[in-house]
Amino acid sequence: MTPDLPILIVLGAVSIASALGLLLSRNAIYAALFLVLNFGVGAVIYLVLNAPFIAVVQVSVYAGAIMVLFLFVIMLLGAERLSPGENPPGISFQRPLAIALGGVLLGLALYALFVRQPPTTATALADSSPTAIGLSLFGPYLFPFEVVSILLLVAMVGAVVLTRNR
């Protein structure tokens, strides 16, 4: 039992609720908003876990850019209304099998977490200032960083090419 735990439990409940909202909503806008909420709660969890940099990046990248883009596309296409999930013939097994497998996956994770008993938590706090993260990014992780930058460039060009009106 750590002092953070009550806060985390509340945040976790909100997070799971919003995720379920995403899973069950009949409206894409609502789904997106649930996801924004989920991301926002995630940012707070990051703050609690002593990762402020990741928290604000989460807010500005996920909430500020990615989800705005989602909303933009949903509104632009007018695709917010989702028809009730009726599986086409031939894959009627999809839903039960998916739920069963998802349950198995969750069970495995719980088993690994609780039965296999990972070592106890450390008490020290890592230095997670932007300076430390920057030194890591441009030090040992320089190559992945450059690769990711090229990936972003390629994705940008790809998006432009894909949606260009011919």
């Binding site: 806008i29 928290a55 500005s60 500020g64 850019a65 933009f72 932007p130």
Partner: protein
């Protein structure tokens, strides 16, 4: 829990100040605009029209609140809140005076990033309001808002990056400290003029104020995303816009005008708040002046200006700044 108590007290005071400021900012805008347009402006309610904001508030409270039949109710009600909240929480990281006492979240070391993030989130209210109203003008306004904000966020973020580079810290308190070599030339507006200009322009665009008020362009979109709103919900939009104006002015003052710095702040700490307020009000005046002077941009020009001019210039500015710092040019560490 003294920490929590202190934070609560600070928040209450801050919100009270901001609400009052919002009220009198509306009055100030109307007065200044009137003067700039050779009119007198509101002068009936109270001496010099000082009670005018109160009268406006009362009127809005008693107005009938209309909800369109096709509106998506939860989001329709949520949207105004989403406009106000980001504007308010921006102040969490802004040092309004010297020392931790005048800053809500003083220990946060990613303040500049926080600003960028919250500015990005601020668009939700407008976008959702436009969509939930089930009105084509509103929807168009919402779409325009999201596109505009995403486009200009980049330039703003990059101009802030230049500032962060100069201060070699993302904490807003450190940024203010970095501008205090004892003279006025230490302000980043002199050492980072390009970043300052870009921040000013993009801030105006993020606010969707003239000349970037395409979101609510009355000649084309009636009132844009606010078309279907009335009463207190309309007042919330209004409040969101003006609080955000104050927040952006405060940010500009913090980033480029030396924040709370000024003569004798070491002897009389409360003077720092006064200096900060003066700088914020100066920025607000400038914004009103701009609104009165410049015509609205065309939408396509707005987008291409953001992507093809501001973003590349801001990027170049970051690179040049990095080089200047790396080379140790005087004034750049």
């Amino acid at each position: 829990m003294p920490v929590l108590l202190e934070a609560t007290l600070k928040s209450v005071v801050l919100i009270f100040v901001l609400l009052t400021g919002f009220a009198y900012l509306t009055l100030m805008e109307r007065k200044v605009l009137a003067r700039l347009q050779a009119r007198i402006g509101p002068n009936r309610a109270g001496p010099l029209g000082l009670l005018q904001p109160l009268a406006d508030g009362l009127k809005l409270i008693f107005k009938e609140s209309i909800t369109p039949a096709g509106a998506d109710k939860p989001i329709y009600f949520l949207a105004p809140v989403l406009v106000v909240v980001p504007a308010l929480i921006l102040f969490a990281v802004i040092p309004v005076g010297k020392g931790p006492a005048f800053q809500l979240a003083s220990e946060i070391n990613v303040g500049a990033l926080y600003v960028v993030g919250v500015m990005g989130v601020a668009v939700y209210g407008i976008t959702l309001a436009g969509w939930a109203s089930n009105n084509k003008y509103a929807a168009l306004g919402g779409l325009r808002a999201s596109a505009q904000v995403i486009s200009y966020e980049l330039g703003m973020g990059l101009s802030i990056v230049a500032v962060v580079l100069m201060a070699s810290s993302a904490s807003l308190a450190d940024i203010v400290e970095a501008q205090m070599p004892g003279n006025i030339l230490g302000w980043f507006i002199f050492r980072q003029p390009v970043a300052a200009a870009i921040f000013a322009i993009t801030a105006m665009a993020e606010l969707a104020r003239a000349p970037f008020d395409l979101v609510e362009a009355e000649q084309e979109l009636t009132a844009g995303f606010m078309t279907e709103y009335s009463g207190m919900k309309f007042a919330l939009f209004f409040m969101g816009e003006y609080v955000k104006m104050i927040a952006v002015s405060a940010l500009f003052a913090t980033f480029f005008l030396g924040g709370w710095s000024g003569p004798f702040v070491d002897q009389v700490p409360i003077l720092s708040v006064v200096y900060f307020t003066i700088k914020v009000v100066a920025c607000l005046l400038l914004m009103i002046w701009t609104r009165a002077t410049l015509p609205r941009m065309r939408y396509d020009r707005l987008m291409s200006f953001g992507w093809k001019v501001l973003t590349p210039v801001a990027l170049a500015n970051v690179i040049v700044t990095a080089f200047l710092i790396a080379l140790g040019v005087p004034g750049y560490q």
